[in-house]
């Protein structure tokens, strides 16, 4: 009997298991690969329209141009990448540690303002002291980015310490409140931050080491700049979440008391997670302003926190790549609404109402998010298959037993 059993047969169950394992383990690589070539794809689309026009295929060119309206542009992809990074960082807390922070706008904003303020003011004839101005002809981005990481790490550590005695919904409330101090400070110190008008004067941001200019005018360069940094930080977070520390985070999420009695300093673990999350969120904030060349004060308003919660929940807080899916859908829909749909229906200009409304619906009806729901379905499917096989095996065994019993009689 045993010898006849086929080896290495690929059952559907194993196939599904394999697919979802591949996605769990290598989804990040697949996605990174696709995104690596995205600007080429989009330029090819643009070029094809020009080519069609040049060759008197006007009608076809028009159709393709119409279609292009529904293809996310490279700048939109930059935005999506930045919020993916932000969401993945945010999800260290929500999905993995079970902490709901509604104050992440603070880090996003502080990261942006740090870079923004440095580039806007380290110039001759401004607030900056002479030695600072003399040190750089043009302040290199590397310096401001590193400063940004240091500052946002510190801010995250500080807020984390202040909020460390709170759990669950109180934590949400306290983080939201604390984060708004930064908003009102930005409003108050408007000489420095530009106040409600936003901070401008950021047109000339360069990578000092290679003299490359990044900003809104050079979409492709900016895309790859954002891409590289996002991939590096997302990969780092991915490693952290599968490290022993990542397991501790999930233990704290599942049962804080048990984790403590197992010997983990839960307060310290939570603070560490919070600080990491905040630091990377700061980087995302910096990328957002580098791409936009201005720091809008909305970046530091709690609506930004709301955005990232929505993105993460929508994609699936329990999954690593959920925020990527959420970010794509969120920004793509928002773009469609404000550019395409609004042509037909004026109510699409009220996108905050849409965002808020859809958010409520997601919480009510798709609490696990898109990827989470898909994964649950896969798991259910696998479970069902397993049960079926068990039942069949048991039935067979029972039959065999009955037969032997009948034989002995």
């Amino acid at each position: 009997m045993d010898a006849a059993a086929p080896k290495n047969r690929f059952t559907p169950r194993e196939f599904w298991a394999w697919i979802s394992e591949v996605f769990d383990n290598y989804g990040i690589l697949i996605l990174a690969g696709l995104l690596l070539v995205y600007p080429f794809f989009f330029s090819a689309l643009n070029d094809s329209i020009i080519w069609l026009e040049d060759n008197d295929w006007e009608a076809t060119a028009e159709v393709v141009a119409e279609v292009r309206g529904f293809v996310p542009s490279t700048p939109l992809m930059i935005q999506i990448l930045i919020y993916t990074l932000f969401g993945v960082a945010f999800n260290i807390l929500l999905g993995n540690t079970g902490m709901l922070s509604l104050g992440h706008c603070a880090f996003f904003g502080v990261g942006g303002y740090t870079v923004g303020i440095m580039h806007a003011w380290i110039k001759p004839g401004t607030y900056a002291p002479d030695w600072m101005v003399n040190a750089f002809k043009v302040l290199p981005l590397e310096i401001s980015l590193i400063t940004c990481i240091i500052v946002s790490t510190f801010v995250a550590w500080l807020i984390g310490t202040i909020c460390s005695t709170k759990r669950g919904v109180y934590f949400a409330m306290v983080t939201l409140s604390i984060s708004m101090i930064f908003y009102y400070s930005a409003q108050t110190f408007d000489d420095l931050t530009g106040g409600t008008d936003g901070l401008g004067g950021l047109e000339n941001m360069r990578l000092g080491s290679i003299g490359l200019r990044v900003g809104i005018m050079d979409a492709n360069i900016t895309y790859y700049f954002v891409y590289i940094l996002s991939v590096v930080f997302i990969a780092a977070i991915w490693q952290v979440l599968r490290s022993p520390f990542g397991h501790v985070l999930r233990a704290v999420r599942e049962n804080e008391n048990r984790a403590r009695i197992c010997g983990y300093n839960v307060a310290k673990v939570r603070l560490m997670a919070f600080t990491m999350s905040g630091a990377v969120s700061g980087v995302a904030g910096a990328l957002a302003i580098i791409y936009g060349e201005t720091v809008p004060i909305e970046n530091i308003h709690f609506i930004t926190s709301g955005q990232i919660v929505i993105i993460t929940l929508f994609g699936g807080a329990g999954t690593f790549l959920g925020p990527a899916v959420g970010s794509f859908i969120y920004w793509y829909l928002r773009q469609l609404m404000s550019v395409e749909f609004v042509k037909y229906l004026a109510i699409f200009q009220y996108w905050e109402a849409w965002v808020g409304g859809i958010f409520v619906l997601i919480v009510l009806f798709v609490p696990s998010g898109i990827l989470g729901t898909i994964r649950n379905m896969t798991l259910e499917y696998r479970e069902k298959k397993l049960l079926n096989r068990k039942a069949v095996a048991e039935a067979l065994a029972k039959n065999a037993d009955d037969e032997t019993a009948a034989d002995t009689e």
């Binding site: 409330m173 009102y184 108050t188 808020g356 958010f359 009510l364």
Partner: protein
């Protein structure tokens, strides 16, 4: 006598303004605590419903009734009808939205997130219905006089009216919470279904009433504050955060906490600008970051600092129960 360059009348004037501001915070913070006490949900939409109350009040008074009955009566009608409308709205919202999440996984997070979603949804929805610019909302003529006026001191009738109304409401709430069955359940600070069920009460109705009550309080505060400031879609944002601060500082799970917290912070908030006008600051700090200009705008920042200090030194708040709020 207040120090240096600040006149005594100016000082009293700011005390008065602080009392007005504090009264509103007390009303909102109590609404928040009541909902939280029974249902375990922190209402992140409290500011949004407060804003909605102001808009509903504007519609009732300026658009519907004032043209017929005159501005005084129109305002009175608004003041009386807004709580009713908001109460009904709150109950409907509880029935068709919030009640769906009871007994689901992560019930509390879902509740918070739904209310947070509303705080994003409602302002824009209001812009959709009422237009983007804010609405002017005048002090009704019958209140347009001063009870007392000398120099910089001006105790206006309408502000006094809000203080008195708030005091009456707080007293009524006290009776509700300490002298009724509903209050007993709120004080028990539990969303423990079974316990309340054992008492043989229709739980879902109680929760609906409570939620409606909290929303009604928020809406009423909104319409009452409307004549003091313009009505605007973002008016609920700052005050939501301020209310949170009051609750954190005062301590949740007690009645006295939000009341004292609101009053103290109201004074702090109103007196901060005076710091910048004292002789000491004018003489010594002018030209620095914390010069007179800073203090004019520092009220809100100071509130946050107080909250941070309280969180670090006394996490349960001034009057909070141990363990009830962490």
């Amino acid at each position: 006598m207040a120090a240096g360059g600040v006149e005594f009348s100016e000082f009293v004037q700011h005390l008065f303004l602080g009392l007005v501001q504090g009264s509103f915070w007390v009303l909102l913070a109590l609404g928040l605590s009541i909902i939280f006490g029974l249902m375990g949900i922190i209402n992140f939409g409290h500011g949004a419903f407060y804003m909605l109350g102001a808009y509903v009040g504007f519609t009732v008074s300026d658009l519907i009734f004032s043209p017929f009955l005159g501005p005084n009566a129109g305002f009175i009608v608004a003041l009386a009808s807004v709580p009713i409308v908001m109460f009904a709205l709150g109950m409907v919202f509880e029935r068709y939205v919030i009640s769906r999440i009871y007994n689901t996984e992560n019930e509390r997070f879902s509740g918070v997130l739904i209310m947070f979603g509303m705080s994003i949804f409602l302002p824009d929805f209001v812009r959709l219905l009422w237009g983007r610019p804010g609405k002017p909302f005048n002090i009704p003529p019958m209140f347009q006089f001063s009870l007392f006026k000398t120099g910089t001191l001006d105790i206006t009738a309408y502000r006094s009216f809000t203080i008195i109304t708030a005091a009456i409401l707080v007293a009524l709430l006290w009776v509700l919470i300490y002298k009724t069955n509903l209050g007993m359940m709120i004080r028990a600070g539990t969303n423990n279904n079974t316990m309340v069920k054992v008492l043989g009460i229709n739980v879902s109705r109680i929760w609906r009433l409570t939620f409606g009550l909290g929303i009604a309080l928020a809406g009423f505060s909104g319409v009452m504050i409307a004549p003091l400031f313009a009505v605007d879609a973002t008016m609920g944002e700052l005050i939501l955060v301020q209310t949170f601060i009051v609750v954190v500082v005062g301590g949740m799970g007690s009645f006295i906490g939000p009341v004292i917290g609101g009053l103290i912070l109201g004074q702090l908030w109103a007196l901060t600008p005076l710091v910048g006008r004292t002789q000491y600051v004018v003489q010594n700090w002018t030209g620095t970051v914390i010069g007179p200009d800073f203090w004019e705008k520092a009220s809100d920042i100071l509130l946050f600092i107080v909250m941070a200090v309280i969180l670090l030194l006394r996490p349960r708040g001034l009057f909070g129960q141990e363990g009830a709020f962490d």
